[in-house]
């Protein structure tokens, strides 16, 4: 009962936060000077013109209007939804690839100590290479891959780049998780003459779950960010990333339109976060260790 009440409160507070953001936006727009707030030459708060800060209501209304003035154009929300779904699919593939690679790396590092010493520094170092530096390289290589009649589709390049951000937290988190069982548990398995595989299945993997779930969440965020950035840098036309750039370019004439794909990207991130927390719900039995 008390739990249900608290859940309602949490939802209410979340909603209240959203309302507060809207209120600050509209409030500042109402009382702020048109030219923004300047300290010396530096503008510390933005202009409040309709061009720089469209009304929230205008943004929402714009979603219902057609994308372009061309006859038969679909409504804006539909275009954003399609682009976001495409990106979500790509991000999901990137996430899967990243999680698989991350888990395999973690297993390898757990199994062979030397691999941990040899690989872990490189895994950490890999994240210092900016995505946009190697995105074009991935695309160029991808373009050259042709197996029989199958050609490397451009979206796969995007997914691959997204997986580059996703694998890192999984590799590090899963390794910590796989190494987390207490000595008493590994010794017990030793007295049962259980091999590496049996110990992995019965002790290490279940014990890794509490470490793995936050890693999966980070990987989801990484996959979404990676997808959006990769779409932009390899000029992939169908996703939300490209749409962000295109609509931003039209903002001078249609300021509210530029905000639509931003909402789309936010929704994309939320859906990804919910999807991962569903995994956490499925594995909640393995999180009992967190309470101990």
């Amino acid at each position: 009962m008390a739990r249900g009440v608290r859940r309602v409160w949490t939802a209410l507070l979340g909603l209240l936060g959203l309302v507060a953001v809207g209120a600050i936006w509209e409030g500042y727009k109402a009382i702020g000077p048109d030219d923004g707030v300047l300290i010396g030459e530096t503008r510390v708060l933005p202009r409040t013109t309709d061009l720089a800060m469209p009304h929230l209501l205008d943004m929402v209304r714009r979603l219902g209007e057609p994308v372009t003035s061309a006859p038969g154009a679909e409504p804006l929300w539909r275009a954003v939804y399609d682009a976001a779904s495409t990106s979500f699919g790509i991000a999901a593939v990137g996430w899967l690839v990243g999680v698989t690679v991350g888990l395999l790396l973690a297993l390898l590092m757990q199994r062979i100590r030397l691999a941990e010493y040899g690989l872990l520094p490189w895994i950490v170092l890999s994240q210092t290479v900016p995505l946009i530096a190697f995105a074009p390289v991935v695309r160029r290589w991808g373009n050259q891959i042709e197996i029989g009649t199958w050609e490397w589709p451009p979206w796969l390049s995007v997914a691959l780049i997204a997986s580059y951000l996703a694998f890192f937290p999984v590799a590090v988190g899963a390794l910590r998780g796989l190494q987390s069982p207490a000595r008493i548990h590994t010794e017990l398995m030793h007295t049962y003459s259980a091999g590496w595989w049996a110990t992995l299945r019965s002790v290490r993997l279940p014990a890794a779950v509490p470490h793995l779930l936050p890693a999966l969440r980070l990987a989801a965020a990484g996959a979404v960010v990676g997808t959006v950035v990769a779409e932009v840098s390899i000029v992939y036309p169908d996703g939300i990333g490209r749409q962000l750039i295109t609509f931003a370019g039209q903002a001078s004439g249609d300021p509210a339109k530029a905000w639509a794909p931003i909402f789309g990207a936010v929704a994309l991130g939320l859906v990804a976060a919910v999807a991962v927390s569903l995994i956490g719900l499925l594995l909640r039995n393995y999180r009992r260790g967190e309470a101990l």
Binding site: I184, H185, L188, T191, Y192, S202, V209, N285, A291, L292
Partner: protein, 314 residues
Amino acid sequence: MTETTPVPPVEGPVEHSAHDDASTAADDVGRAASATEVAVPAAAPFGPPPPAVLVTGLTKRFGTRKGAVHALQDVELRVEPGEFVSLIGPSGCGKSTLMRLIADLEKPTSGSIEVFGKTVKQARADQDYGIAFQQAGLLPWRTVAANIALPLELHGVSRKERRERVSELAEMVGLTDFVKHHPDQLSGGMQQRVAIARSLAEQPRLLLMDEPFGALDEMTRERMQGELSRIARETGAAVVFVTHSIPEAVFLSDRVVVMSPRPGRITGIVETGIGADAARDEALRENPAFFAKVTEVREALHGVPVAEGGREAR
């Protein structure tokens, strides 16, 4: 309760199990004498049954940064099938190390250990012993039943057999109503009982216990001692029990092995003379003979010479 007594594992000639019973019954009679029969080949096909544990000339050194630590030196120990032996001594005397060596969790520096006439590695592979530690070490994501069944599951016992065995064991440790609970829903004493049930899952003939009641409060501890001695009697398993409580050692054991540190070695063995069949109950704790043995163990621990007959020559 009788149906919970496991049948001793099949081990060839029938005489063996007959011998088992005999040695259990005659536990406190000829212990000193039997301890000198080390020369008998342990795995002789038709000889007396091999001892549950036979430790000969065992030395264990740990290499540390500050140099070698002499954990155990020239340890000789013989534990008969069905016998309850406690290892007692101050910390650093190597009592846990000795138990871990028997469990094949450490490798000896020199000397040999046999468990039922086999190498410790073979005995571990054959699941001849069950083990329990100071911490229950239950897997938190498994229910009580699944925790008890873990060793059975790992060794491919069928689901049906597992379920039967688990309900037997749960009854033996008095947790029938809790098999569906998870460890975090149990008290420390109940968790330790699950651990004991788990150690008994494969009907081992030897139980190795490293201060299993060390983390429990005094009242739970005394109740658990009574239960353990009942379980040991029911299963007929030999027990090697590490403790640093003198009354606990005397209360439970047929023999108390007294150890001292630097280097870790056996300095005395006290026969409690309580007898395997004597009831381990509150009356025993009040018994003057019990107090006398407690005093004897204490004196042995403190290095004061112990009365003749209670101590074995090494």
